[in-house]
């Protein structure tokens, strides 16, 4: 068997971002934590941590972290079968898209986490980075718009989120007096989540517009809504996130017939125990409307 004291030290250093904090967490001195990491590196014959510029695992370190998390998940199943074993509650690391976390995610998984005593370590990334982190074994599951399968993982479709180009009525009157025209698109400030966010571009392309346009960059789902409501721009927002603002007449679509449906897929490791299977069952029951 591997020496899990060493692996736990590695997992704790990475989770808490440093040797001192990991020591506090484990009830060890910083130097004891450091010795465990060194012992692990000696046994492995290569480094498990990159120290500079930021502390992060090497590819080999990530493989070990992947393994630690899988073992912790299997331990959970064991503890369910043998309830007198000492209790522990590993955090399940999941990468997901910002808009799901800002909308339906908590309602969908809240009861399950409560019942199972499950803690989540949520990571927000776009789909390419998210799938890479799943492939690298950094996370146990990835919720994203890509159906590209990952070796060793299963992929199940969860439905779609529907986006509309929303803005305030004032903004629409000022910038789109003649509707969604090429001239309006060229001048009206938009809001884009980040450099890899293609929704705004896809919307404009669906309207036949392929030129440049002014936009704010706002990498926050809630901030995106706030900017839109403050009249700073128009942007592609999930219908479900702003339903009440639309009902109150504070937001409206600049092109009601132009919506984009973004599919969501749940990728997760095979053979990681029953907990992930049951969580998957819960997610498959979600209605994204």
């Amino acid at each position: 068997m591997l020496d899990y004291k060493l692996l736990q030290a590695l997992a704790t250093v990475v989770e808490f971002g440093g040797f001192e904090r990991a020591g506090e967490q484990l009830g060890l001195s910083q130097s004891a934590v450091s010795q465990r990491i060194k012992a692990l590196e000696v046994r492995l014959g290569q480094p498990v941590l990159i120290r500079h510029p930021a502390l992060r695992p090497t590819p080999a370190g990530q493989r070990l972290l992947n393994h630690v998390q899988q073992v912790q998940l299997l331990e959970r199943d064991l503890r369910a079968a043998l309830p007198t074993l000492e209790e522990a509650s590993p955090r399940l690391r999941i990468v997901l898209n910002a808009d799901s976390l800002a909308t339906w995610w908590a309602v969908a998984v809240g009861d399950f986490c409560r019942t199972e005593g499950l803690l989540l370590d949520m990571v927000v990334e776009d789909q390419d980075v998210g799938l890479k982190r799943l492939r690298d074994g950094e996370v146990a599951a990835c919720l994203c718009a890509s159906d590209q399968p990952i070796a060793g993982a299963r992929c199940v479709p969860l439905g779609t989120m529907v986006y509309h180009p929303f803005a305030t009525p004032d903004y629409i009157a000022r910038h789109f007096p003649d509707g969604p025209t090429v001239e309006a698109f060229r001048r009206a400030p938009a809001i884009v989540y980040g450099p890899h966010d293609q929704l705004q571009h896809r919307f404009l392309a669906s309207c036949g517009y392929h030129g440049s346009f002014p936009y704010h960059l706002c990498p926050s789902s809630e901030g995106f809504v706030r900017l839109t409501v403050a009249g700073m721009g128009y942007g592609m927002l999930p219908q479900m996130q702003v339903a009440s603002l639309v009902a109150e007449g504070r937001l409206d679509s600049i092109a009601p017939e132009r919506s984009l449906a973004v599919p969501l897929y749940w990728h997760f490791w095979r053979h990681s125990g029953e907990l992930l299977e049951r969580l998957t069952g819960v997610l498959c029951g979600v209605r994204l409307e």
Copy 2:
């Protein structure tokens, strides 16, 4: 004078995350963009971009980007004085904390951006990374909780955001039936924004509790609220973000007398032109209540 065509190519490659997209933006072929970057590197005698694993500027490249942004800001002032010059609308890159972006930021700056035709490139980081990016010249300003001055930048206090340990009434009845006790803190799942978020630890320390506690990690302001409302945990939330949920009785404080006030400071480059000075004037008029 520097060759600004080359500098603009660098800025566009970094902003759009690739040579192909930068080319689309500039109306150039990918190979023309690549040639401009190479020409810049030859003149500088060192690389300006790191290609792997992700495209990002070298420290020298960042200095150049800093300079480009300062020049663009100064050009804005020039254009205000000479309105017949061809118009351009540079994005002002600002790093700020997630909770400000999720609450008061858009209302505070919305009118100003509209009037000035100003576009923002917002970056969400915690204060240490944010101040580092300001120091490195990656951003023009940083909104954070630290009053640590940066050479070449001014720092003005904007007020404080007040945080309370909120949860649903059901959650409080289940996990804190006897109030905020040591035994309850040891078992009740909390919600923490990320490994560097110290608010929960500061709250527990203020209650005299220094032990470990179970928690979810949720790096999203809106997700944090959703998890709390779904009863998954209790967490330190800005009073202003959840005022309506508190008024509706959906959230309550687990320890009403224990709030934490987090100060906010606005750090910005000196000598970057009038636009930043005027934006600073707008921010100084904000009341964070």
